[in-house]
Symmetry: C2
Subunit: 153 residues, 2 copies
Amino acid sequence: MNGSVGRLVSILYRKQQVYLNGALKPFGLTASELPVLSCLFGNDGVSQEDLSCFLSIDKASTARTVQSLVDKGFLTKEKDPSDRRANRILLTARALRQKEEIGEVLQRWTRFLTEDFGEESLTVLFRLLEEMARKASTADLRELDKVDDEKNG
Amino acid sequence: MNGSVGRLVSILYRKQQVYLNGALKPFGLTASELPVLSCLFGNDGVSQEDLSCFLSIDKASTARTVQSLVDKGFLTKEKDPSDRRANRILLTARALRQKEEIGEVLQRWTRFLTEDFGEESLTVLFRLLEEMARKASTADLRELDKVDDEKNG
């Protein structure tokens, strides 16, 4: 096996950031704010700490991005009644109103990348990407580099 | 179609950065330095401007990353004899000596993510990822957000 998933994911990610920065400009959003917003679309009211953990973004960057989205009117923060030191992050009415349009920006990217794929390839692609994302999300990545993988497939 | 390639690529990319930052520490490298180094492993002596363009990384970030890799002893800069304002970026002997080991860090990530996939899935995965990366690389991404895609797959 000579291909590198990491190399291809990096290329796709960087191009995606360029596309997203352009396509999100009319919303006043940047590509780096989208993961936080997307995560909240699925988990409104989550704590800032859980957000950082779900997204594998360090706490300082998460705090900066959340604050930027608060300043832009997409999010509000409120103290968690059960833990006064923690903040719950909530979507504003404005964010909820624009949820579909923002989702459409991502869908347009998927359609563009996959427009030449048949139904079957598309199904396989999503199955394999989902499996890799799940595997990457559940692994202890800080341990992975210490394990000597014997398989040289 | 409900899946989002962008969402899955983002998840994979963020986890990959966590893995790479750990796995590259023994080399004194960070995840964000790897694309520059990998690009030079394939195109030693390229100009700083072309590096920025190939990688879709803005000029200021490219300059910072190149300088960091120069300071760490992986790269040297030299004036392009045909254009005195341009810098050619060259790998040092140290970088060339560690090329295989650094490549192995990326291969380990690919093996980890795909270890449960059969030969056929692996072939399809690489074909589809390569096709998407090529498509993303050749497109005018700043125009894509202005085009209304009719296909609602």
